[in-house]
């Protein structure tokens, strides 16, 4: 077992990382391929597919929609996440576990079930589908991630600092603004970034709840039917991937600042 762990585990870990990254690495590679058919060997390097992207009005629309939905979902889910995370880390109250269970449930439910349930209730209420309903759906599935990030941020800090502030005559709001907020700011930033990233890439809820509107994943889904459109989709995907990695690196850096030099 020891020899096994020494020799084979690192090799296995290496192979596993290749397996994880293989599909991701192919996106940028084929997005600069001159031939529209994704196949090795590459026929030449081109930036044509990237240059074509801004010339597609439908894509620009979808990108704006995704941005609006992403920002709205990130802000709302972080605000609701702060309430819940603060409540569970600061107070004991009856029914805490079932309440938490319900709020975190979207993590383990099949997304299609959540999507069709929301669709049914929205249509039964006579609401028409729009970007607003997509935001409602995205907030629901982002909240568990926000709470996870925020709880670990809220648990880390010393409550006696808040008590000291209160003892020294600061109001509850003042204590929150001047003591609590600066300490939990990194967690809040990471929650915003993580929720935005989830919303940006989310397809199933958007597919059911967007009506005639399109977000980026819905646009991509539409394009996947046409083989000739594939390189453009790959170029778009590469840009989205770069944006996601950038934001997560920021999120990671924000939460690393919270726990310095471990």
């Amino acid at each position: 077992m020891k020899a096994l762990a020494r020799k084979w585990l690192p090799a296995y870990a290496g192979l596993y990382v290749i397996f994880l990254y293989l599909p991701i690495l192919l996106l940028p590679i084929f997005s600069v391929n001159a031939s529209p058919i994704p196949q090795f060997p590459l026929t030449g390097i081109t930036t044509k597919w990237y240059r074509d992207l801004p010339k597609t009005p439908a894509l620009i629309d979808a990108a704006w929609n995704s941005l609006i939905v992403g920002v709205a979902a990130a802000v709302l889910s972080t605000v609701l996440g702060i309430c819940a995370a603060r409540a569970v880390t600061r107070y004991r109250f009856p029914g805490r576990r079932p309440i938490q269970g319900l709020i975190m449930a979207p993590l383990v439910l099949p997304e299609i079930i959540i999507a069709i349930s929301m669709l049914l209730i929205l249509l039964s209420l006579g609401l028409s589908l729009s970007l607003f309903t997509v935001v409602l759906g995205h907030v629901l599935i982002c909240i568990p991630y926000s709470i996870t990030v925020l709880v670990s941020g809220f648990e880390g800090f010393d409550r006696s600092l808040e008590e000291a502030s209160a003892d020294l005559g600061e109001t509850a709001f003042g204590t929150f603004r001047r003591v609590t907020l600066p300490m939990v700011a990194p967690a809040i930033i990471s929650s915003l970034l993580v929720s935005f990233t989830i919303s940006l890439d989310e397809f199933i809820m958007a597919f059911f709840l967007a009506g005639t509107e399109t977000t980026l994943p819905i646009y991509i889904w539409g394009q996947l039917r046409f083989a000739a459109k594939l390189p453009g989709v790959l170029a778009l995907g590469t840009l989205m991937l770069a944006a996601s990695i950038l934001m997560l690196t920021f999120a990671e850096a924000a939460s690393a600042r919270r726990t310095p030099h471990r």
């Binding site: 996106l27 058919i37 107070y91 349930s117 397809f203 994943p217 991509i220 997560l248």
Partner: protein, 305 residues
């Protein structure tokens, strides 16, 4: 409070003060969580109850008949097409969850026991692929597994096969590979967390008492990491059963799953009550399967001890 404590009959008044204090803490906690709770109630719990209600109703073109009927469940459970789709979806989600956990365990073990100072870097490295668009990852697998795809040309280049294999794409194997990739992180993280909690001195103790590395792994590390394995299994199994993107893109005719049928009922076919009944049936059956797996694993652990 301090004033009350100085009064001779303090103990009684302090005791009577204690309850409002406790109640106010509970009230504050509840008040604080109530917006989030209300959101989840209105947009998750109530909708799910409505879906369950719909599953007992029937639809005549555009009007919903609200009289109670089990007809939808009869169709969902006995129509061969839905029964087959459900069985196949359960099979795929079982295979995917078991495969994901088996492949993920050594990685989680490696990071936890041999990650050293780079643990966080490893975890970050492993989570990145998960943040790329799900649609595009599935698309990428289509490119890898296709007739002229990366895998086929690679295998031909190495001389392992003579002509491209068609066995890779448009079947349930392709669905399993794609989903195993998509859910990897959700298995690695819970297993890693439970491995981190394993008390290292217990493993040393087992070794000092004469257990070899394999025995100490089987008798100490594995049983102690079982909670992580079980949550990984559940986190992968339950959502996987409801996937419809992967089957649509790489599944071909043999890879279609129950979610595709559910989607059709809410889209083209427009039979909401049947779609609702299919959803409820799927949830109930997959929960039962998950519970059976958990019991089986717990039983196996008890026998192994």
């Amino acid at each position: 409070m301090t004033v009350a404590a100085e009064v001779p009959s303090a103990s009684a008044s302090v005791r009577s003060n204690a309850r409002p204090l406790l109640q106010s803490e509970a009230a504050r906690g509840l008040a604080l969580i109530s917006p989030t709770l209300a959101y989840a109630l209105v947009l998750l719990l109530v909708p799910i109850i409505v879906v369950i209600a719909y599953s007992f109703w029937t639809q005549n073109y555009l009007t919903i008949d609200r009289s109670f009927t089990l007809e939808n469940y009869r169709v969902a459970l006995t129509e061969p097409i839905y029964r087959d789709l459900l069985m196949r979806s359960l099979g795929i989600s079982l295979v995917v969850s078991v495969a994901t956990v088996l492949f993920a365990y050594p990685i989680a073990y490696y990071i936890s026991f041999h990650g050293g100072r780079h643990k966080n870097l490893w975890l970050f490295l492993i989570t990145i692929p998960f943040w790329s668009s799900y649609l595009l990852r599935v698309m990428s697998w289509k490119v890898i597994l296709g007739y002229n795809g990366v895998l086929n040309s690679g295998l031909m280049g190495l001389g392992i096969i003579d002509e491209p294999s068609t066995a890779l794409l448009y079947n349930s194997t392709a669905v399993v590979i794609t989903l195993t990739h998509a859910w990897a992180v959700f298995a690695i993280l819970p297993i890693y967390v439970s491995l981190e909690k394993v008390d290292r001195t217990l493993i040393e103790a087992a070794k000092d008492l004469g257990d070899g590395p394999v025995r100490s792994f089987l008798r100490v590390t594995l049983p102690l990491s079982m909670p992580g394995v079980i949550s990984a299994l559940l986190i992968v199994m339950i959502p996987t059963v409801g996937d419809f993107v992967t089957p649509r893109l790489v599944g071909g005719k043999d890879g279609v799953m129950i979610a595709n049928a559910i989607q059709a009922q809410f889209g083209k076919a427009a039979n909401w009550p049947l779609g609702a009944a299919l959803s409820v049936t799927t949830m109930v059956v997959v929960t039962a399967m998950a519970a059976a797996c958990v019991l089986l694993l717990r039983g196996a652990m008890r026998l192994g001890r």
